[in-house]
């Protein structure tokens, strides 16, 4: 199946929480030109171990509910961050590949 029409789905064994208060602060910091790549906004608990995803990773993660295609997710992010799809595509793909490798995500 074409990668872009696949629908990523989070592993349901992973417990996670979107930290909205932090997300809002990180968005403000981003607008002010600060570096926010290292700032977590989504917490994951995977087999008892904690991980965090940064703003972009966290946004992608929240969209991976199995209803949206890769194409739709990429378009939504491009819109959210006012960048072109081309700029995002390879990063998004890399992120999905890594999550899939870790077993945190599958495609439906």
């Amino acid at each position: 199946m074409d990668y872009f029409t696949q629908r990523p789905l989070r592993n349901s064994d992973i417990v996670w929480r979107r930290e909205q208060r932090k997300e809002e602060r990180v968005l403000r910091a981003l607008e002010e030109g600060e570096a926010v790549d290292e700032q977590g906004t989504v917490l994951l608990v995977v087999s008892g171990t904690m991980h965090q995803l940064n703003l972009v990773g966290g946004m992608i993660w929240c969209l991976c509910d199995g209803t949206r295609t890769v194409d739709e997710i990429t378009a939504q992010l491009a819109d959210e961050f006012s960048v072109s799809r081309d700029e995002l595509e390879s990063d998004v793909r890399e992120f999905f590949d890594e999550l899939q490798q870790r077993g945190w995500l599958s495609y439906v």
Binding site: V15, E19, G40, V45
Partner: protein
Amino acid sequence: MFDNFTDLFSAPLTINWTLSFRCNFSCSHCYSRDEQVAELETADVKKIIDILVAKKIPFINFGGGEPLIREDLFVIAAYATAQGLNVSMNSNGSLLDESAATRLLKSGFKSVGISIDSADPALHDDFRNMPGSFEKAVAALRVLQNVGLKRTMSSVISRINFQHFHELLDLARRYEVAQVYLHNFKCSGRGFKNREDLDLTPAEWKTFYVEALRVKQQTHDLAISFDDPVISSLPGYDTDPLVNGSSCGKLSLNLRPNGDLTPCGFIPLTVGNILHDDFDEIWYNSPVLNQMRNKRAGGKCLDCGSYEACQGGCTARSYAVTGDFNQPDPHCWK
């Protein structure tokens, strides 16, 4: 600009919840056996669950007292799991027959932990002051297995078992337990009164942990957990990139039977009542919680290279023995 723990964590991840201090056992190390507190009605317990859901706190672990003493435990758990919470509990196993196991499964429990302190039945029974309790504990593991519920085993490390923890691991294997928690001894409640008889010396703790870390690294058929920050200085310790030191008051809070919140079950300082006080106000502004999250090195910790990861070790133990969060953990061998 994001220096505070609560910048990222809008709430703890786990609530350790004592619904009742009542118990049919009388164990030598129990932190809560001598406690008596009014218990909440089921309706109020459900209100608390609604608060946990609203605050997106994903895990509840029922402890005690013996959780199965509360007849509404199944109703409470079903209410929580229906709203997506992950519910587990720790039990002495004595009330856990096939019918209880089935009800635990149906009410959505993710896992059930059984406390076993020695692989020697006589020693376990003696420690728990209850003849026949070992047989009941292993029978509970068996019925949980029969109904298909994930099992864990909890052992509090003390003088009676620290040289025999391999046997506890073998016991866990025999009953196909998924995970063994080797809990560090806490000087609270009866644990404080019986400290002389039960607690190890700092040098013994070091010997135990060096060996336990080695075994953990080499064990692949069983998950072994021990959550004790004082081991940060030892080889083989995995530092947590998100949280250093004790996790109490950071990743977890403790709920008492009347709805009072404490940082953990071993620190007798109430930071608020979940039914009467605003949760966010407690979480973000409690002076006690903020002191625990921002400890300052005291005593020998001042010159210790492990302070960043260790943060002075177990805050509950320091507080129990010295009355000061910032003093070094009395188990520390440095």
